[in-house]
């Protein structure tokens, strides 16, 4: 173990785990996690190692990759309705939960170009629940209106869609999304943040509770799981992340 101090990544993983297990949301029996998402992956492992019977499909996990039809299988699985929850980020995310992975300025990103939309234009609409996750929380990322829509947060009536954003988790706060109103509501702020600091860092308008709770710390049990069994599962795929967040790796990176 790397010591008693709670790392921001550990708090975020525990926060995501709580959202995954939200009893008010549809059940998360099968969760898929994209390649560059160590914190969501840690959250999923935390749920699983806490004893909840969830199936995890971790993309680009080199050993134990669950897919035998190549990457197409994730999208087919999701099309079949077998993926209950997915995580998405965005170079920009706006107040209607639209995400932009294309770039700023004119199409296709004449300002800052982002990598591209990946499967978001499909996954966001075909998954019953999406948790939006982006560590950077700034007016640059959380904008009133995205410059380009990779995947829309809301769809016109009649357009087939299984779900949308459940929540948005950043390095500063947790927002819930209400699709009926097309609007976020601030749910909690991480340590060091308050109503004013969140408002200043957020480019879109949102609802705010009368009293803003602090995002809870991970429990000692969660910390023990994260720093032990969760780290062990993640070290092959995310060696740098594990070394930085959970302390010295005991296993060697298979790719080294």
């Amino acid at each position: 173990m790397s010591g008693p101090e709670i790392k921001p990544e550990e708090r975020l993983a525990a926060t995501l785990a709580r959202l995954i297990l939200d009893p008010a949301a549809p059940p998360a029996r099968h969760i898929a996690v994209g390649a560059a998402s160590p914190i969501p992956a840690a959250a999923c492992w935390l749920v699983k190692k806490s004893g909840h019977p969830v199936r995890l499909s971790l993309l680009h996990k080199r050993s134990g990759n669950p897919f035998t039809e190549g990457s197409r299988e994730l999208f087919d699985l999701t099309g079949q309705g077998r993926i209950d929850l997915f995580f998405l980020g965005g170079g920009q995310i706006d107040g209607q939960a639209n995400i932009n992975l294309i770039g700023t300025g004119e199409w296709p990103g004449t300002g800052a170009r982002f990598p591209g939309s990946f499967g978001s234009a499909f996954m966001y609409m075909m998954t019953p629940r999406t948790i939006l996750f982006r560590e950077e929380h700034s007016p640059r990322v959380l904008v009133e209106k995205v410059d380009n829509i990779s995947a829309p947060g809301l769809s016109a009536p009649g357009v087939f869609r299984r779900g949308t954003a459940q929540a948005l988790v950043t390095g500063r706060a947790v927002f819930r999304f209400d699709p009926a109103r097309g609007r976020f509501a601030l749910e909690s702020a991480h340590p060091g943040e308050d109503v004013a600091s969140i408002r200043a860092a957020t480019g879109f308008d949102y609802d705010e509770p009368a009293h803003l709770p602090a995002t809870p710390d991970p429990t000692p049990e969660q910390l023990a799981l994260l720093r032990g069994p969760v780290r062990d599962e993640m070290i092959e795929t995310y060696p740098e992340f594990c070394a930085r967040v959970f302390g010295a790796a005991e296993k060697k990176d298979a790719a080294a």
């Binding site: 990759n65 190549g70 990946f118 234009a121 609409m125 990779s150 995947a151 298979a254």
Partner: protein
């Protein structure tokens, strides 16, 4: 093996890819032939239209940097943990390449339509995305099986001129084994020609071995094969070797500038090859 299938080297395969061809590449760690990308750079290929299936990585970035590419159709270009693809980003900014953005399952779907020999295939999602708004070649129809008011996207079949794949092994019949990366089979089925570099030749017929057949692409689809040990490096090949993250990070740093990229290219693609030939 058909006598013209086994070529002496990746250079011989690259010589058969004409300027302007549409070239499909799997993403990093899903069996792109980096060896063939380097050979295309050495032959001075121009005007290639790259297709990322469904996203693009290291091989695409070096081809763009070397000036081989006119257009990229893909769902994302990324170096993974090493971040954005610097030569792709620079070329897009400078207007030297056309980028046709897609989304992963749409690329798979267009190839599956070609694989099946149908003119189009539908896909859910996409409606409301600016990707669709910027793809005049994609269409929305009202689902004829619903009572009305159920819009669904139709994507046209896409048949690349070439698929360039690196596989673990080929046999002397021209069959190729690439294990669970079966999206490569779909690319080969959809492509007009498939060129494969391999780590080694396999004795015996891969299709006769019940354990190996499920991960095999039949020679029917394979137009050329060349030996290229470590031909996926710096990206991973199944359980045979892992990604060289340090190498890619060093590339990402070097390729931030045109000068840095040219120096990298000389050292790792052009000169290295001349030394090997010397």
């Amino acid at each position: 093996m058909n006598p013209e299938t086994l070529e002496a080297s990746p250079e011989a395969l690259a010589a058969r890819v004409p300027d302007g061809a549409m070239v499909a590449l799997p993403p990093d760690n899903s069996l792109p032939s980096v060896a063939l990308a380097k050979a295309l750079i050495r032959r001075g290929a121009r005007g290639l239209r790259l297709l990322g299936v469904p996203v693009s990585g290291f091989a695409t970035d070096i081809l763009i940097g070397a000036g081989c590419v006119a257009e990229v159709q893909t769902s994302a270009v990324s170096l993974g943990e090493a971040g954005f693809a610097p030569r792709f980003t620079a070329a897009l900014k400078e207007g030297r390449i056309t980028v046709r953005d897609a989304t992963c399952p749409a690329i798979h779907t267009m190839l599956q339509a070609a694989e099946k020999g149908v003119p189009f295939m539908p896909l859910r999602g996409l409606i409301g995305s600016d990707i669709l708004a910027n793809r005049p070649d994609w269409r929305v129809i009202d689902n004829p099986f619903a009572g009305g008011g159920d819009p669904v996207v139709l994507l046209p079949a896409l048949s690349p001129d070439f698929a360039l794949i690196h596989a673990a092994m080929a046999d002397r019949e021209g069959n190729v084994w690439l294990g669970r990366r079966r999206e490569c089979a779909t690319i080969a089925h959809a492509a007009k020609a498939t060129f494969v570099t391999v780590e080694r030749l396999h004795d015996g017929n891969l299709l006769e071995d019940e354990r190996l057949a499920p991960g095999t692409i039949s020679a029917t689809y394979i137009s050329g094969i060349a030996l290229a040990p470590r031909g996926a490096q710096p990206v991973a090949l199944l359980d045979e070797y892992g990604v060289d993250a340090g190498f890619i990070a060093e590339y990402a740093r070097a390729a931030r500038t045109e000068e840095g990229f040219q120096a990298w290219l000389a050292r790792h693609v052009t000169e290295q090859h001349e030394e090997a030939l010397a």
